[in-house]
Amino acid sequence: MGTFEFLLQGVTIAAQPMNLLYALIGVTLGTAVGVLPGIGPALTVALLLPVTYKLDPAGSLIMFAGIYYGGMYGGSTTSILLNTPGESASVVTALEGNKMARAGRGGPALATAAIGSFVAGLIATLCLAFIAPFVVKFALSFGPREYFALMVLAFVTVSAAFGDSTLRGLTALFVGLSLAVIGIDQQTGQARLSFGIPDLLDGIEVTTLAVAMFAIGETLYVACQGDRIPDKVEAVKGSIWMSAQDWARSWKPWLRGTFIGFPIGAMPAGGADIASFLSYSTEKQFSSHKEEFGKGAIEGVAGPEAANNASAAGTLVPLLSLGLPTTATAAIMLAGFQQYGLQPGPLLFATNPQLVWGLIASLLIANFMLLVLNLPLIGLWVKLLTIPKPWLYAGILLFATLGTIGANPSVFELGMLLVFGLLGFAMRIFGYPIAPVVVGLILGPMAEQQLRRALAISQGDVSALFLSPIAAVLFVLAILAVVVPLILRARGKGEVLSQFAANED
């Protein structure tokens, strides 16, 4: 069967009434939580993971995908109407979008963001459907050493290649890897770093870590800054519809953003933030209204928002076809798969095609729902932005702990939540990125397993790791990804890289 047949089959699965309902609940929850300031897609997915515990795998993954896409849509609303610097993927949208909102053009800004996200999501999801099978075919020739090399590359790009410091990125990664060691060793059954505490034998839950570091760390960080940053929600004045000129100026940035965003997401090269920055600078160059940039140019919203969503779909390529999460959000989605004992990768396409293709098809459907949900109902989401800070963060912590309590109602688990929350807070203060910790925790055990398999095959000969051409190329890329940014920073060209700081997506 070709991709088309599979996709059609997927659509019939995704269009079942129950699955449509799950998708609708997913996109609604995703948008609602994504709109809240300070909550990005990674945290949205981590917070809502427990909601899906009791559903069947297909339904829950469909809801999950809806949450993911919904979170991406919701984030743009926040950055346009509420200037929230610090949220990585939407910083660029805030640059122009917030200026537009202040100039009374919030409506068209929201519209171009939503329609751009839709166009990009649609094209990128179709690209995902057509590219993933090829990657799967290619991946079937991968042995343990190639997988190990691929994971090393992912480790390096997530931690060291972007952001403002190689040192702090790598440190965050190694903190994640240290946490990954905790628990029973998969192959020999020996307990590692558990200090005789039974609760630690199962290892650290990815969702606990992610919720603690993102939700509690962020809350503490915002609280410690006092009232320094005044929040001002811009009201949406006038028509939300775009004028003919807005359309004319938007459609090219949408397409360019899509084709910048998708490959960046699909390669283990970091997340949506990088894509949106690249798209922004591209639009600035191509635009015939250069003077408007910095004052509210619609291209500066249309392009990055499209790039943002396209790269979100792009990250699903390595996640679904290789089982390789390249962003914090993807790492949490992987945890979502694993809670059903499903391991994404080439085998999943063979053993469970209905599930994979149902998921991809439901992304297309979720995209349509989101367009409807976001344009006419925008006023509803805007109301969420006006929740006063004390209630907002009290609510965020309520839901953050709810997930952990629901998964494992133990005092110990809540204690870990608090400890990791404080860790996340301290890391934020000292300028450490959070995403590498999460990716290190989930990818660490997988990389170890592949490494030990590879070395068992070579009977302990380490040089065999580098003897396969594919693995050798991947290792060289990984080394370059550490060394090149180090040289660039030493020469004082680090600002460009720190703009690309991959923090949350």
């Binding site: 427990p50 790598l170 020999t188 503490l220 410690c224 009232d227 209630w391 809540l414 203060i429 068992a456």
Partner: protein
Amino acid sequence: MSGVPSNERRRPDRAALVIAPVLFAIAAVIWWDAGRLAEMSNYSRIGPATVPHVVAIGLALLAVWTAFEAWRGDFPEREPIEVKPVVFIVAGLAGQMLLLKTAGFSIATGVLFALTAFGFGRRKLWISLPIGIAFSFVVYIIFGRFLQLSLPAGPLEHLFF
């Protein structure tokens, strides 16, 4: 974690300098724990201790690098920090953790809710505590009853269910 704002660059960053020994201590613990495993490992050189050893070496190297950068004052400047709100929120989380088993989900989480709001400037606990408990109770009904998450019940929950 008290942020010492330094106006002059290239001065040793004392707070950041503390990070290096912490990283080194973690590396030492991992190394020690892996050594305990190695006794049991088999003929091949690759065992459960291999990766922990690599991680420990990596952390130790990063500790040295951190000490070096902190000494040169290369860490980004930090803004002054208000400690009080942080203390209240941590107290809320600790309170929820300790109350959860005895008082049940709604009351424990209500305490967390009220103390967090307190940290952000809503000082009227006699208003925020009831709001928090009521809100948590609604959440309990939705998630604990309809979505069947196993949330611990306390006196308040037993009153109704």
